[in-house]
């Protein structure tokens, strides 16, 4: 796994964990080093991950064996057009400290993807220029994709004042 070996060699302890499930190259990164790693992945000539294909989060609150561990994972899927390879980077976050630095300065698409992740999971992206909800409305209470948000919960309809 040359990509992972290269990341581990360069960043050492900042790469918390790596695996290659089903051929997907994955590295778990420490939060403090996230922006450095992302920037390196984008700018390094051998990696050249120029596309932030996807950014999302997963709530591990009810995952067997991980109930006590860090609750959230923010997942970055990178793709390189020139090198035609992919990389998945993940950051683990505790519930009471669900903050990651924003990647908007690196990729403009991170703006909307981070807004969606904030909207759906309540993960804060520090330094985001426009931290509004993306899919839900501003009056919505809570973050619907969290595992402790029941699917049957209804919130009052809002609309223009009649």
């Amino acid at each position: 796994m040359p990509i992972l070996a290269e990341l581990q060699r360069r960043f050492g302890d900042a790469i918390v964990e790596t695996h290659q499930q089903h051929g997907d190259v994955t590295a778990v990164v420490a939060r403090d080093a996230l922006l450095t790693v992302l920037a390196h992945c984008r700018d390094d000539a051998a990696l050249a991950f120029d596309v932030l294909m996807d950014l999302t989060a997963v709530d591990y609150l009810k995952f067997p064996g991980r109930e006590d561990g860090p609750r959230f994972e923010v997942v970055y899927h990178l793709y390189s057009i020139a090198r035609n390879h992919r990389l998945r980077l993940k950051v683990r976050l505790d519930e009471d400290d669900a903050r990651v630095p924003s990647a908007v300065a690196l990729w403009p698409i991170a703006n909307w993807l981070e807004r969606e992740a904030w909207d759906m999971f309540g993960v804060r992206f520090e330094g985001h220029p426009d931290p509004r909800r993306l899919l839900m409305y501003e009056e919505f209470v809570g973050h619907p994709l969290r595992k402790d948000y029941p699917i049957s919960r209804r919130q009052p309809l809002i609309g223009p004042a009649s």
Binding site: D24, L52, M53, T56, H77, P108, L134, L135, I151
Partner: protein
Amino acid sequence: MAETTRREFMLGEGSGTGSGPQNVHVGIGPAHPAMHGIIRIATELDGEVIVGADVEIGYLHRAFEKDCEQGGWNNAIPYTDRLNYVSPLINNFGYASAVEKLLGIDITERCKYIRVIMSEISRICDHLTCVGASSMELGAFTVFLYMIKAREFLWELVEDVTGARLTISYGRVGGVKADLPAGFGDKVVRAFKETREVLDEVHRLLTGNRIFMDRMVGTGALSREETIGYAITGPLLRAVGVPYDVRRAQPYYVYDRLQFEIPTQPEGDNYARYLVRMAEMEQSMRIVEQALAAIPAGPVNVDFAGRPIDPASYVDQGKQGKTEGLLLVPLTLSPNLEGQQRAALRRVNVADKRVVLPPKENAYGSIEGLMNHFMLIMEGYGIQPPPGEAYFAVEGANGELGFYVVSDGSDRPYRVRCRPPCLPPVAALHRMIEGEMVADLIPTFGSVNMIGGELDR
């Protein structure tokens, strides 16, 4: 501040809010005849020029990702129909393939070809709708009618195979719902002949048409760097000259065995996107024709001497315990609506009892088949991929359609994330329309091909 009078506002008199140059805020949408879905663009206009735009989405949010977590792995298939509802087959297959990747299973040869054929037919439908609708908004209503006519021929093919036109639910983890119907190849030949005639006609009507070119050339352009920065894929990326296509870059199914080209254009404007889409439809037809020629037949359904009986009377006899010997009798089940014959099912589905429902003869006719059926249907059982995560991307009509699935080892998805291919271009829409006239918004929005179902999920 004092109330601005109408006269002050319009003519810029006095010292109130209206004095001096004043930008006007105009909200376009959520419901607007030239919006292909429900979306709101809050624009700031200086005269007729858009100086600022804020795109607001989410009006069609139906909690797709949350809903997927509620049922079994196959229960999410109907929800994926409703992502990109103009080419739902591609969504079905993308999701099914992500789960197959998680399970580590390889689908049958014939199924791979079927998925390729149906994906490409869907792609043509999607492009026909996109080009047709956006030319209609530019006044070319004839083109819209012609293209919808062609789409109708293709939808008839889809209907023949899946039993439905739009909410097709045809993909299954481990295979597809049913084999291709008899005579499908001939129908494809006829439908493609009509489609090619329509495309030819549209080319003569639009490509080079003065009115159309005036609206399309140079409008809505985005630079190569920004297109990549916004993670835009599909026709919009190929319209800035980047030949990225998941089918070629990271081939899945049998795309590496088929000959096709990836059309690109250098300009990145609306006209380039139109040309790319028009060229892609021809390439998709090429792919389908090659796939139909190469599709392996698999075992042939043997005709026994016994009388064929319909499913209802088969079930009746089963209830009376008279099933002995019936297993040898070929059932006449409609492959689309009732279920599948054994031979057809084995052609298109993996032989994996953990994943694929047994043929209906077995489910109705033998206790093992019935148990197998229940083990997949009952709550708490069903498909149970090992704990882990997988990302699988297919080339949707709008670009890379990715599914990121996480399993905790249970019979329900722990997390299903859809990477919607039309979210990035909509996120970049304000960059395409700022600095241009309000009227240019219409062709630009058309060429983005926003599909609300997939954008808002």
